[in-house]
């Protein structure tokens, strides 16, 4: 085991601190925006009078005007895993709403991130190894171009071509409508089949970044002395390329995975909207439109937690890949 306990504690501690600050930020964000969520809710004609508004305020812990008190309540609830009750889904708890949506987003986003990382890696390496070649130049150009294509536009085009015109894929949604009555195998098939287009959208839109980063890294690694020495040793090109070059090029981009994850989750919002995909992006967007503060808080917290956890995992994996870290 290459871990050392200080490294572990440091990473976990740092994640916890980040989490705490993120939770605080989450608490403040909607409140800094102004507006009174309970009145906003009460004023929606469906939920009549002042009494209702007062009752709701009490329920949402907004009856005590002290922000500090509310913050205390919020943290207390949070510690019990209670994210409050969603306004728009009233009276469903936020945790249920998010719990239903999260697997879909995590599934697609993680798959897409890993796949695009892998593909970007292969393309970037191939390009850098033969830098200046036709392959390199054409992938470089395509990467620059793809880097600037909006997620949702790709999604619309995919729907137009593959779902509507060719009819190869469903128009959206996460599963077949008859999902409930399916056997386990059919369920898996249904989920995968429906995830293909959204995942592809996310891959295409995030691929370019990985290609560029890995290509740059490898270009840098290729100019290192140990690469020269590897050649001087008479090692085979493939060994030099992967065991020496790619391995080292991979390291700096590994921590960048986290930021790319944030980017992809951002893109997932529009992608999920276009594909009617019931993920956190869609929930978040609707929550924002509905002024559903508890749900916004919950969704943001959950995004933050996902990113922090993924980052933590990356941090914990890092020493396994880079021997220099554990002692560092």
């Amino acid at each position: 085991m290459r871990y050392n306990s200080v490294y572990l504690l440091n990473r976990i501690g740092f994640s916890l601190v980040t989490l705490f600050v993120a939770a605080t930020l989450n608490f403040l964000l909607p409140r800094l925006m102004g507006g009174d969520p309970a009145s906003a809710l009460a004023s929606d004609k469906a939920l009549g009078s002042q009494q209702v508004a007062d009752a709701l305020k009490a329920q949402f812990g907004l009856d005590n005007p002290s922000l500090l008190y509310q913050y205390g309540q919020y943290l207390k609830q949070l510690l019990h895993g209670n994210l409050g009750i969603s306004y728009a889904n009233y009276p469903s708890p936020v945790i249920d709403v998010i719990g239903k949506a999260l697997p879909w987003t995590l599934g697609t986003v993680l798959t897409a991130t890993l796949l695009s990382y892998l593909v970007g890696w292969l393309i970037g390496i191939r390009g850098a190894w033969k830098s200046g070649s036709f392959f390199d130049q054409s992938t470089l150009f395509s990467a620059f171009f793809l880097n600037s294509v909006p997620f949702f536009w790709i999604a619309i085009i995919f729907i137009m071509i593959f779902s509507f015109y060719l009819g190869w894929f469903p128009l959206g949604q996460a599963v077949d409508p008859t999902y409930g009555a399916m056997s386990a195998m059919e369920k898996v098939r249904s989920v995968l089949y429906h995830a293909i287009l959204p995942v592809f959208t996310l891959i295409i839109a995030s691929l370019a970044g990985h290609i560029l980063v890995l290509r740059n890294n490898l270009m840098r690694v290729l100019s290192e002395d140990y690469m020269l020495l590897a050649k001087a040793k008479g090692l085979k090109a493939s060994r030099r390329k992967y065991a020496y070059g790619a391995r080292n090029a991979l390291l700096p981009s590994f921590t960048g995975l986290m930021t790319s994850l944030g980017h992809v989750i951002g893109g997932a919002i529009t992608t999920e909207i276009v594909f009617s995909y019931p993920g956190v992006g869609l929930v978040t967007f609707n929550a924002i439109l509905n002024h559903d503060y508890p749900l916004i808080q919950g969704a943001f917290l959950c995004i933050a937690v996902s990113v922090i956890v993924c980052n933590l995992i990356a941090d914990l994996l890092y020493p396994l890949i880079d021997p220099r870290v554990a002692l560092g």
């Binding site: 906003a40 809710l41 939920l47 009233y90 409508p177 019931p278 929930v283 439109l289 002024h291």
Partner: protein, 542 residues
């Protein structure tokens, strides 16, 4: 002649029974076929609309679902503007003083779990609204309305009123009857009702990420549906939903499709569109208390300056109806002042709009905007975010207003914010729809001064315009308890006054436009919304 709504309510039981008999006839026919008949209904349902199935709650559910699973005493048929009996066995009976209304129940009804349906369930459902004021969205238990709801035996319910309230039967359409034996164990205001039990034509089966699954209720008291399964496919935007209809993934929808899609949809002979006027009026709502807008001349100019025909043709591809300047939708038949609709005095005319302003003493300033007494006709214009097509119409209106010398600044706000602004009156111009209860009195009472409050205070009703007119108030108060003939006349007067005072600038009337496919299923009842529960009862596989 008698007043239309009540007459139609009286006529409906036979219609209902007719439906039942025909359904029963073809129901036996469908049972012969091998594989189950599945009908896909495509709907715009967001994730937050399937978190509960409690018909009392206004949030967290998709309300159209209850039409299939539950029954009201009466169903309002917007196609005909009539009431249709559901759990009521025919039209109820008014007492002589018109202060009690007695409804006989259709005792053939049974809960999905096999329990018998009784008057106690009806009483419970209404009492739940009384004890949980927050659930009483239409204020049935408000002043001058319900005093008590009591059962007479198992099969009769008596509604006692504080005052005369001729619209009561229409209001009865808004309350779904829930099973007392299930609900009494819960707090109806917080009950999530994950497996709803109703009396309706379809039984709840399950819900998943893509659909709500219903199956037929073979014992439905108005006749068993022919289709075995009703799948309500969930989409979160109408564009995809429309594509699904075009592809044949779904057979129909109760909801809105993007209007510009309609011409293309109809190129396909398999697709049909049922269109009927409805209870929603889209309008530029004006705050009649704000400087400038408190001048009827300005409001009138705005009304005249809107090219409603363009909005309907270009913005909505002809899929909506012209709105009457007198507000009342033509769904209310004879109560509606039909001649107002084509009255050239209210037709789009930019020149006349400017003449109106100039006649009222407004002069154009350097920037070409009218002004009087230091007040420039420059207003904020709120609209809902996340509605690009509506915003595009707003942008068109902005341009037309600019052309008649009225300047607007567009602000996008979220839906809750928009509602809040409407209620509190912190707006000048605001583009939104107004949806009224299915009753002409209620619809017109939108303009009653008791439904408003000064800017800064929340309105108790839909009079967001802060429109106050003593005559209108008097006429409406009189109509509330007048006989049919007088009511019609009073309503006409009210509508004329509204048209004249222009408290609100109409855009168009949004009714139903129900897309459905006829290539695989048949038997839709076009006298009802074709995808409503009562129509689907009769639909069968080709």
């Amino acid at each position: 002649s008698s007043s239309k709504p009540e007459a139609s309510a009286g006529g409906s039981p036979s219609g209902g029974q007719g439906a039942a008999s025909s359904a029963g006839a073809s129901g036996s026919g469908s049972s012969g076929s091998g594989s189950p008949v599945v009908y896909h209904l495509g709907e715009t349902i967001n994730p937050e609309q399937v978190t509960n199935f409690n018909p009392f709650l206004a949030t967290g559910n998709w309300s159209n679902l209850f039409d299939y699973v539950f029954d009201q005493l009466y169903y309002f048929n917007p196609v005909k503007g009539e009431l249709v009996s559901r759990l009521a066995a025919g039209e109820g009976a008014w007492s002589d003083d018109k202060k009690t209304y007695t409804v006989k129940l259709n005792m053939k009804a049974k809960w999905h779990d096999g329990q018998p349906f009784t008057a106690a369930d009806v009483v419970y459902s209404y009492e739940a609204l009384k004890t949980n004021a927050a659930l009483d969205r239409y204020q049935l238990w408000g002043d001058k309305r319900l005093k008590s709801v009591t059962a007479q035996g198992d099969d009769t319910v008596v509604f006692a009123l504080n005052d005369r309230f001729p619209s009561l039967p229409f209001y009865l359409t808004t309350v779904y009857i829930v099973p007392k034996h299930q609900f009494e164990k819960e707090n109806p205001a917080e009950f999530l009702n994950k497996t709803p039990i109703g009396t309706g034509p379809f039984q709840f089966d399950s819900v998943n990420e893509s659909a709500i699954v219903l199956k037929k209720n073979p014992d439905y008291f108005l006749g068993a549906p022919q289709i075995d399964q009703l799948l309500i496919d969930r989409f979160n935007n109408s564009s995809t939903l429309t594509l699904a209809i075009e592809k044949g993934d779904v057979q129909g929808s109760t909801g809105t499709v993007a209007m510009p899609s309609v011409p293309k949809l109809l190129e396909n002979p398999a697709n049909k569109l049922q269109v009927y006027p409805g209870l929603s009026t889209y309008a530029v709502i004006m705050n009649n208390e704000k400087p400038g807008l408190n001048d009827p001349a300005v409001r009138k100019a705005i009304q005249l300056g809107l090219d409603r025909q363009s909005l309907i043709e270009k913005g909505e591809s002809g899929g909506v109806f012209p709105a009457s300047p007198g507000f009342l939708s033509s769904v209310f038949g004879d109560s509606t002042d039909a001649k107002l609709l084509d009255d050239p005095a209210y037709a789009y005319d930019a020149n006349k709009a400017m003449q109106t302003l100039e006649a009222a003493g407004y002069k154009k300033n350097g920037k070409g905007i009218y002004a009087k007494d230091g007040k420039t006709l420059s207003f904020t214009y709120h609209m809902a975010a996340n509605a690009p097509a509506q915003n595009k119409e707003g942008a068109m209106i902005t341009a037309w207003l600019k052309a008649i010398g009225i300047e607007t600044t567009v602000k996008l706000v979220t839906w809750p914010e928009l509602t809040k602004l409407l209620m509190s009156g912190d707006y000048e111009l605001l583009q939104n729809g107004l949806t009224t209860p299915p009753d002409p009195q209620a619809a017109l009472e939108v303009f009653h001064s008791k439904m408003t409050a000064p800017t800064g205070t929340n309105t108790p009703g839909l009079n967001y315009m802060r429109f106050r007119d003593k005559d209108v108030d008097a006429w409406l108060d009189e109509a509330a308890s007048a006989d049919d003939q007088t009511r019609q006349e009073l309503y006409k007067k009210v509508q004329d006054r509204i048209a004249e005072q222009a408290p609100i600038a109409m855009m168009y009337n949004v009714g139903g436009h129900v897309p459905y496919r006829v290539d695989q299923f048949q038997g839709y009842d076009e006298n009802l919304p074709v995808t409503s529960a009562l129509s689907l009862l009769k639909v069968s596989k080709k």
